[in-house]
Symmetry: none
């Protein structure tokens, strides 16, 4: 009584709660008991919907990771121009907003993720993005610039928490810096390379 016993959406609700707790306290420290309690179901109910604890994480990746996969697929069919890369960053920034809790989970549980079956999946995604944005022939400094452009967008999620300001402002500022870095990488490369 009180909360309406929602039907058919249990699987979804498990995913939501699990992701939240995994990101908050870490994968290992989050027990299935906790998840179940928060949902007011039994542990066994979780097992009706997911084969194992790890399976929950896997499903999160499959469901929430799609935007990123699509972005990579898109990128791979574009010409390797500066414009493409810029657009890539813009879309990455947007994708990170949607998949934010998942991203945070990965960021904060790297050691764990690496040992989970999704570890490889995630690593491959990173490799693919990296390959799209940098030019392996360019001087090291420029490769670093490109990778940093990508990587610094993650900074939003924790390094920038210390900085005051509107989240949307931050997002834009980060994107601007990233695009800058990318431009510099290109300018220099076309000169030196």
């Amino acid at each position: 009584m009180g909360s309406t016993p929602r039907r058919g959406d249990t699987r979804q609700r498990i995913q939501d709660v699990a992701l939240e707790l995994f990101a908050e306290h870490g994968y290992e420290k989050t027990s299935l008991r906790e998840i179940a309690e928060q949902l007011e179901v039994t542990k066994a109910a979780l097992y009706y919907h997911f084969k194992t604890k790890e399976d929950i994480v896997l499903s999160l990746f499959q469901d929430l990771g799609r935007p990123m996969d699509e972005l990579i697929a898109w990128g791979e069919q574009q010409p390797r121009t500066l414009e493409t890369k810029q657009e890539l960053l813009r879309r990455y920034s947007a994708a990170m907003d949607i998949g934010e809790p998942l991203m945070r989970f990965v960021q904060e549980n790297q050691a764990t993720v690496r040992e989970l079956s999704i570890g490889q999946i995630f690593k491959n995604r990173m490799l693919a993005m990296s390959a799209l944005i940098r030019d392996p022939e360019a001087p090291m400094v420029d490769q670093v610039r490109s990778v940093t452009a990508l990587f610094c967008m993650h900074a939003r999620m924790f390094a920038l928490q210390t900085v005051e300001g509107d989240p949307e402002d931050k997002r834009e500022a980060v994107l601007e810096v990233a695009l800058d870095l990318l431009t510099q990488a290109h300018a220099s490369s076309s000169t030196h390379g």
Copy 2:
């Protein structure tokens, strides 16, 4: 027979093995049994040297985190000039080399670290570094540049693993990019702000 029974350095050896395993498999997934087994002592022996599991981590921070604390202390006594900040980045880069395993541990176990007693310690360090390098009055983009300058040095530890090249070259390239970002932040700030 066979292995020399080292004397008096057990405490040190525990720290070494623990840090390695914590960084490798994560804090939660590393059991005291594992640590003890790798050292060929009993679990109880660990308790002779450390009060709790968390205590091991704490000791690691106290012993390996000193360079960073000293860096902050140094920074706080310098004038807030561009030169100071540049030197800060240079020293940070060096400090990261020494405390690398510890840094990796923190990077890869953020969710866990946050819930450990060292969480606050570490967060304070980050805040202090952030305060030293950025100017809270500057436009957001420049603050982002400064923070990114600091933050991107961590990229070395995993984002840049996908890039081929000599580690020392990478270190220098990263530092160069970081210094660049810092300079841009300043140039722009003095103009706009």
Copy 3:
């Protein structure tokens, strides 16, 4: 599509699969999930046909154990002669062929069967057969011979697996040995007793 959806024989199919799995992996280690999966139905479907897991076993005994019950009933109405006992062995040998999987199940899950409701049923059957074949007044050696005559037929099912040869040959050989034992028991008894 593909597999014909058999109608009306589900109960039978459950029994078949269950007996096979019970005999193969043991009663306790065989879960209703496994049975259901192998039949491509849900666990709940099993409960439409049987009240409990134990009920499946019970039904197996009722359906497959009839030959043995009939044999006992027949034996009890015959005169207690050597010829009767010989015929008993012959029919037992035949009955064991039909009820083989059930017999194997019992053989291999004695500890379990004893604690199931069929335990008593089965024990009674054994007692009845034993009572039919041996003479409680005869010397111990002869009683042992008689019981062994009965008991050794079970040997076929596992002790004789190590012996090469045609199954039918084995069956006959075993029967011959059993009949021999019986004859010896009688010869000696009529002399000594």
Copy 4:
């Protein structure tokens, strides 16, 4: 109070209780909780002495199965004469007395044992004994006789429970029947073969 807290013999006591319960209720139905409760220790204490539940069974085999292994070793170094085989049966009968609870456990948990790591060990023992006692060149009936001679000794443990009489008398009677069977196997073989 009441029971003296015995020291150092915990491992042994675990084995004793475990074997008793395994034989009584079956391996699967016996939980570690039960064993622990009967010993008035915690489940975790069992894990200090044995790595897994299966490990307890394994240790029982290693400790209690030795007589049987020694018997096989002895048999393999004797000439393949009738006398040897007779002695084999006599010693087998004696060995079965010592290892009786273990034997009962195996008898009554065949399905389980087969899936445990000891399954193979035990099967090999059976094969070895079988190989020692029968002559693969002899006619099938005689091979059956030999195998039955061996096998019928197990009858004592359950088939003969229905027969009244002193256990020692039974033991002797069974042995006599077994030796008889063996002699018959030989007599016939040397004539026919």
